[in-house]
């Protein structure tokens, strides 16, 4: 809406007031002068108002833009650029409620970089950060359906939410993730598991989110599977169907 539309009524009043003055309806000069003076003040005030509204709009647009930028930044992990844990929790809760309504399966994949502490000790923290960035980007590319979601969960832990994904589908994705990180071929001589950076994976699928387990239980199950994968030698995956 343009400002002339917004102030249609005010423009009309000013116009009519001017016409009144021109028609010389005032009985004496004093009244006419007084009226003219008042009209002048009104015109000034009206002009100020129009500019104030525009200035206010400009500033509000600016603040709104900054606010959106801030929300976006507050949801991303600054190191890796993938969504952070806060965003993950929001997304997970939303997906869980949606899947409860739909009665569709939902899978979670928890990922841990094998012997990352040793990697940091061996190559330094800058290289460690670079490793995290590469792994995060690769996971994001590997989990590529529009609704799939990768987030940083902890220091060297990532998590994937796979909406509408059955157990077998989640296993296929899990294996692909292990393969893709292997293909990155980031040297890791302190690993003891492989000569490159590898990951361990825990997968939990809720076949029917309408049943009596909670999303926290699915998350806990994925975490236990990850623990089992690490206990059974790492660079592998363990999974459970709930």
């Amino acid at each position: 809406m343009s400002l002339s539309d917004l102030f249609k009524k005010e423009y009309k009043i000013i116009r009519e007031s001017k016409e009144l003055l021109e028609r010389e309806v005032f009985s004496d000069e004093k009244s006419a002068k007084h009226y003219k003076n008042l009209l002048g003040h009104n015109q000034k005030l009206f002009s100020q108002l129009r500019h104030l509204v525009k200035i206010s709009d400009i500033q509000q647009n600016d603040l709104n833009h900054l606010n959106q930028q801030l929300i976006r930044l507050s949801q991303l992990d600054s190191l890796t650029g993938v969504p952070n844990r806060r965003r993950f929790e929001e997304e997970l809760n939303r997906e869980w409620r949606r899947h409860q309504r739909l009665g569709m399966p939902l899978s979670l994949i928890m990922i841990d970089i094998d012997h990352f502490k040793q990697y940091n000790d061996c190559y330094g923290h800058t290289a460690g950060d670079e490793c995290l960035r590469k792994v995060a980007q690769t996971l994001s590319v590997a989990v590529n359906r529009a609704a799939d979601f990768v987030a940083r969960f902890g220091r060297e832990e990532f998590i994937c939410v796979l909406p509408q994904t059955e157990y077998q589908g989640a296993l296929t994705v899990g294996k692909r993730l292990i393969d893709m990180i292997r293909l990155l071929n980031i040297p890791h001589k302190a690993s003891g598991v492989a000569d490159h950076v590898s990951i361990s994976i825990g997968i939990a699928t809720s076949a029917a989110p309408t049943s009596d387990h909670t999303i926290q239980e699915v998350l806990g199950a994925a975490d236990r599977c990850l623990y089992d994968a690490k206990a059974s030698g790492r660079n592998c995956l363990e999974s459970v169907l709930l």
Binding site: K44, S47, H51, K54, I55, I58, Q59, D62
Partner: protein, 131 residues
């Protein structure tokens, strides 16, 4: 006539009104709780200063990174006072100073410029090096 100096706070700008140099400066951020109250002494000072009606140049430098709507209204009132003085023979120049990357300050400055009738209103850009 005494100069008026007000230190900046988090929500109000620094003010420096110098009767000798005839340079008036407002600089910082302006969102005081009560804009009319905060600027009352500025408006009073201006009235007294302009009463002397010496036909010599008056310059106002304004650098505001952020200001609220109440401050905008007060600024317009200040510009009107200056505009009237200008019409009566005291030449006034307002320099609206903005950072080269601050599009909002540019656009707002343009609005003030449009509102002003007679005084010289200059848009003055500065960069990081000049701060």
């Amino acid at each position: 006539m005494e100069n008026l100096i007000i230190e900046a706070t988090k929500s109000s700008p620094s003010i420096s009104l110098n009767a000798e140099t005839r340079i008036l400066t407002i600089s910082g951020e302006s969102y005081p709780e009560n804009a009319a109250k905060f600027y009352a002494s500025v408006v009073d000072w201006l009235h007294n200063f302009l009463l002397q009606s010496i036909p010599e140049q008056v310059t106002m430098n304004i650098t505001l990174h952020y200001f609220n709507s109440s401050s905008s209204k007060v600024l317009m009132d200040i510009f009107e006072i200056l505009d009237n003085a200008h019409a009566k023979g005291t030449p006034v120049t307002v320099n609206w100073r903005y950072h080269e990357e601050n599009d909002t300050a540019i656009e707002c400055g343009e609005e003030f410029k449009e509102e002003i009738e007679r005084i010289n209103f200059h848009m003055v850009e500065f960069s990081d090096e000049e701060i």
